[in-house]
Each structure stands twice: as C-alpha cells, then as structure tokens.
C-alpha cells in the first residue's frame, strides 16, 4: 500500500531529468529530496503529482497503477517554490478551493479550512486578498490549501527558497511542528530542498538526487555521517565538504606539505593516494596550526566563513564567531583529524569517522 516508483526515467531533449529512479515510500513518513538546482527535484515531484509522464518506468500507489490516473483525480497536494495561489480569490476562498472541487459537505469544509488556517497561523486573514500578503504569508496560504485538502500525498517543492533568511528560519521551525503533529498516518510527505540544514532538521528519509540520478538513500543521520561518495559529501554539506588530495603513509596523512597524525579510524587503510574530506566546521583557528592565506571572508549570521588557500589546496573553514579578517592575511588553522573522511580515486567513501559503512 505504498507509493512505489520503479526505474522512472524522464529524458526530454537528450538530458536526464530522471535517470532510473526507484523508490518505495511508506505512509506516515517524511521524505526529503536533497539536490542542487536542476538536479531533477521538481521533475521528481511533478511526476508523482502526474503533471509529467515519465518516458519509462512504473509508478504505483496503494497497489494501483498511478500513471493512468489523471492529475485531478490523484488526491495529491503540492506547494511550489514560487508562491502559487489563486490571485482572484481571497485567503479563505483559496484554501476552500480544492475542497469545493471535491464536493465535500459544507460543515466538513468549514472545519477543515479553519483547522488548516489555524495550523499555518493565518486565522483572521480569511478575507485578505492574496496580493495584500507578504511572501511568507502567501506561502502559508499555499500550505494551508495543501493541508486542508488532506491529500494522501503532500509534495513540497523547495517551499522556503524564495523567502528571506529570517522568515525561512521561522517557517522551517513551524514546518517541523506542523509535520510532526499535522501529518496523518496515512499520508506521505515529500519535501524537496537544496539546503542540507533543512534536511537535517526535518530529519526524515533522505534521497540525494543529482542529474536525475539517486546517489544515496537513507535516514538524514546516515547521509550526514556516511556520504557514499564525493558528490553526496558536496551536496549534503553547506558549505560543501572540503576535499584535499593527499597520501596516507604508515605514520602520517600528508597533503600540501602538511602532515597530520593518522586518526584511529584510518588505521586499517592501505597506504596510497586518497581524497580526504573534512567539514568546514571541523577546522579551527589555532596558533600551533598550519599557515593558510585568506582568499575571502564572509560573515553570515553569527558565523564567519573563511575561504583559505595553500598551494593548490583550497579549504573553507567555518568559525563560530564574527571576526574581521583582511584578504591575503595569513592565519593558522588546525584540522580535527578525528573527523577526516577518506574517499578513493573514484570518489567512493572508504572510511568515515562514524564507522559502520554499510549500516
């Protein structure tokens, strides 16, 4: 009784939007699709909604062939990254629209709509025009419309991406609450995003998508701890994980004339060339450390991102305080060797600080 996709492929204009995608989504769960822009996330959601027909592959829901059912009979709901509402209707009429379309009884409609508006915090805005609302409120209307419908499949396509930073944080918190209490046990929620932080916070099952291909599937924690390859490591971290080409010898890890003690989880690795991965947050300023040159320093919120360079290697360090740096200034940094990943030449994960590679 699940939503099952088998080998879905969609390839208009000789470019894969979906490349042999398979999945098995269970009711009552939250699934997040993580991928960069143009990785096929929207295509993925539109295919499930029925707005696109895959070139090949099967899609079934509750044991029935899904691809034969037209969009308007599928009982799905979708929130777009653009704030799509019906501009000619007010807030209440917008939320009521899908329910009226299904010809539910007046009482049922009223309770469902009131409940949905309460959930998204728009009580009192019923008679407002859509144009009179802020972006965040418009997106709440779209969400309320989707929730009121009580669809069995709820699709959210980067719903926060067009909001400003503050609103995004706030709405993300609310989403977590809404999803944890508002999601009925027979609904499937699919949420797509480019933001790894959103994925971690929503803490659902994650599908990492790139160029239409599923790179990795698993719980958010698993993706974070053991990114299967370099691509996943890059996509699932913001800033992307630093990758350093280097050699492991019997005593040291060596890259760019820096040698570092071998962390315990690397003990069993063969001595050869590797791509070492380290997260920006595992690099600290340290007077005893290695000297790097600052290429760029950005302050974001209460953190400072340092783009550093030494030889051919570039790393990004995340400093958890606001500091002022000059470009081309030299700073000394230290790597937390216990948090090093090792990827082989093909880019596959060989060793992770969290161990347990096949778990």
């Amino acid at each position: 009784m699940n939503l099952i996709g088998e080998n879905l492929t969609y390839k208009p204009d000789n470019q894969f939007h979906l490349n042999n995608v398979s999945f098995d989504f269970k009711k009552g769960n939250l699934y997040t699709i993580l991928g960069r822009t143009l990785s096929g996330k929207t295509t993925f959601l539109k295919t499930i909604a029925g707005l696109l027909n895959p070139d090949s592959g099967n899609l079934s829901f509750e044991g029935k062939e899904f691809s034969k059912i037209p969009v308007w009979e599928r009982n799905v709901a979708m929130v777009y990254q653009q704030f799509i509402n019906y501009p000619h209707l007010n807030v209440y009429e917008n939320v009521i629209f899908p329910l009226k379309q299904r010809k539910l009884s007046e009482d049922k409609i009223k309770t469902d709509v009131d409940e949905a508006l309460k959930t998204v915090g728009l009580v009192g805005f019923e008679n407002r025009k859509i144009q009179e609302l802020s972006g965040g409120q418009q997106q709440r209307v779209a969400l309320a419309r989707s929730l009121a419908k009580k669809a069995k499949i709820l699709l959210l396509d980067e719903p926060l991406v067009n909001l400003d930073y503050k609103l995004r944080e706030q709405l993300r918190e609310e989403f977590k609450k809404i999803f944890s209490k508002g999601l009925s046990s027979d609904a499937i929620l699919i949420y797509s995003t480019t933001d790894p932080q959103e994925v971690m916070e929503l803490n659902g099952e994650v599908i990492v998508l790139d160029e239409g291909k599923v790179l990795q599937k698993g719980p958010a924690k698993e993706i974070f701890e053991n990114p299967r390859n370099l691509k996943v490591a890059e996509i699932s971290n913001d800033p992307p994980m630093n990758i350093l080409k280097g050699i492991k010898s019997s005593e040291k890890l060596i890259f760019e004339n820096i040698s570092i003690n071998i962390p315990p989880h690397f003990k069993n690795l063969e001595d050869q060339n590797y791509n070492f991965g380290i997260r920006a947050s595992e690099i600290k300023l340290d007077d005893q450390g290695e000297e790097f040159e600052i290429e760029l320093a950005e302050i974001s919120g209460s953190e400072t991102l340092l783009h550093l360079k030494k030889g051919d290697s570039k790393v990004i360090a995340l400093i958890e305080e606001v500091m002022n740096f000059k470009i081309h200034e030299k700073v000394k940094i230290k790597f937390n060797e216990n948090k090093f990943y090792a990827f082989n030449k093909e880019g596959e994960l060989i060793s992770s600080p969290y161990g347990d590679l096949n778990g």
């Binding site: 539109k46 909604a49 029925g50 707005l51 037209p70 969009v71 308007w72 009979e73 599928r74 799905v76 709901a77 979708m78 777009y80 653009q82 704030f83 799509i84 509402n85 019906y86 501009p87 000619h88 629209f97 899908p98 379309q101 299904r102 025009k129 859509i130 144009q131 609302l133 972006g135 418009q138 419309r145 419908k149 067009n162």
Partner: protein, 282 residues
C-alpha cells in the same frame, strides 16, 4: 530647475489637451450651426457669434422620405456587427490563444509560433488585397449585403488581434497556476474557466477594446461588401457628403459615432490598472 521642469510639463500637457479636445469642441459647435453660420465668416460661440439650431441633429433621425438621412438604423447595424464579431472573436481567440500558450503543436515544420504568426499575418496584408476574395466568398455563399456576412468578415479581421493579445497575456500567466488548479482537482477545462480565465480579465478587456475599436471604425469592408439592404455607420456618415457638404450634420454624426468608444474607454479604464497577477507568482 524643478520649477522649470514642472512648468514645461504642464505647458505641454495643456497644449496637448487643447490639441486633442479642440476638434471635438469645434465639432460640437459646428453641429449647432446652419448654412449661414458656417459659410459667412468664422464663428465660435453659440448665441454670441451665431444663432444655434438643432437642424444638423434633426436631419440624422428624420426618414429620407421627409428630407432626412436616417442614421439610426446604420447605427444599430454597426453596434450589432461590431459587438457580435468582437464577442465571437474574443471567445474563439481566447481559446486559440490558451491552446497556443499551453500546449505544444507540431505539424511538419509548423510550431506554435508559426501558428500565432499565421493569425497575425492576416492583418499584415493590405485590406484591398482581401477585398476581392471576400467579395467573391460572400457572394458565393449568398451573404453579400447582409449583417451576417459582415459579422463573418469582421471575425476574420478581429480574431487575430484577440489571439495576438491573449497569447502574450497567457504566456505571462504562470503555468504553475494551471498546474495547481489541476492538482486541486480541476480537469483542464475547469482549470481554464475557474482559474485562468478569472485572472485574465485585464487581457480580455484590452483585447475586447481593440476588437471593438477596429470593428467600429472599419469603413473599407463595410463600404465594399454592402449596397442597399444593409449599411453601417461609417459608410452612412461619409455618404452624408454630397454636392454641398453639410458640415453641421457631419459634425453631429461624427460626434455620435465616437460617443460609444468614449463610453467604452471610460468603463474599461478602471479595470486596466487593477488587474495584476502579483498574487500568483512573486
């Protein structure tokens, strides 16, 4: 500097207004004159310069038998032909435009843009080129000198305008709006008339206005395709001009000819600024 700018701006606006309004005032004044007041010397102000008379207006409603030129019937003919042709053009044109905006058509080398261009190309040809085919066509199906025949011809002339304006309009309506309607349980027809159409009112009004204007002012086809049974207003107005030009009744008929367009413009104006789609898509 700013004062100078303001001064120049308002001077220009006033001059332009005079330029636009003066002919109308001139026509109003002339319509109340008689032969004497027009031909003797230049006169402007009624009662002061000349004795006003309603003769110019009376002629227009008198039957020919009593020495008048009845423009009441051509007037209603024009209203009927213009409105019917505009309405049908808007309905068909909007449907065609929606299809051209939302679906992909392929027939040989022909694509959506080619079809749109085909519609517009109907307006590229000089009317004189179309006159003979239209004449033969209408005479073959027996609709020469009839209201229905004129409606058919005007649909051919007006529909391209509707298609052209509406394709452009629909292209600016986000496709996600239709998709949301489909997801919310509308079939494609319901999505069109429940969601897309109510949000296209500004476009419909602009297209409708252009159709009405172009239909109303057409002289050429009304002149060529009618003889005695049916006459349209522009033809009748021009026909007033005989050996002696009756400036007074010409002025009066010109004024009542533009009156409907002025009314339409005033009614429509408030819809034009109102319709924006900002709530659909940021």
């Amino acid at each position: 500097m700013e004062k100078l700018y303001k001064f120049l701006k308002y001077t220009f606006i006033i001059l332009w207004t005079v330029f636009i309004v003066a002919p109308f005032l001139w026509a109003v004044s002339t319509s109340f004159k008689d032969f004497q007041s027009v031909n003797s010397k230049v006169t402007y102000i009624p009662w002061l310069d000349f004795e006003p008379t309603l003769e110019g207006w009376r002629v227009l409603v008198k039957s020919p038998a009593r020495g008048g030129v009845d423009i009441v019937e051509p007037y209603f003919n024009s209203i009927f032909v213009t409105c019917t042709a505009s309405l049908i053009s808007i309905i068909l044109g909007t449907l065609a435009a929606y299809a051209l905006s939302r679906f992909t058509f392929k027939a040989g080398f022909v694509r959506n843009n080619d079809i749109t261009f085909f519609f517009i190309s109907q307006r590229i040809m000089p009317p004189i080129v179309l006159s003979i085919p239209f004449f033969i066509f209408l005479s073959t199906i027996g609709l020469l000198d009839s209201l229905l025949g004129l409606v058919v011809v005007y649909i051919v002339l007006l529909m391209p305008i509707a298609v052209w304006i509406m394709v452009d309009f629909f292209n600016r309506v986000p496709k996600e709006l239709d998709e949301t309607a489909l997801i919310d349980g509308c079939n494609p027809y319901q999505a069109f008339y429940k969601v897309v159409l109510p949000n296209s009112i500004p476009g419909l009004i602009v297209a409708g206005m252009f159709c009405i204007i172009f239909g109303w002012i057409d002289f050429f086809f009304a002149f060529i395709l009618t003889f005695t049974e049916v006459q349209l207003l522009p033809v009748k107005v021009v026909a007033l001009n005989s050996s002696i030009t009756p400036w007074w009744s010409l002025s009066a008929s010109a004024l009542i000819s533009v009156a409907p367009l002025i009314i339409v413009a005033f009614v429509v104006e408030r819809y034009l600024s109102k319709g924006n789609l900002s709530g659909a898509l940021k």
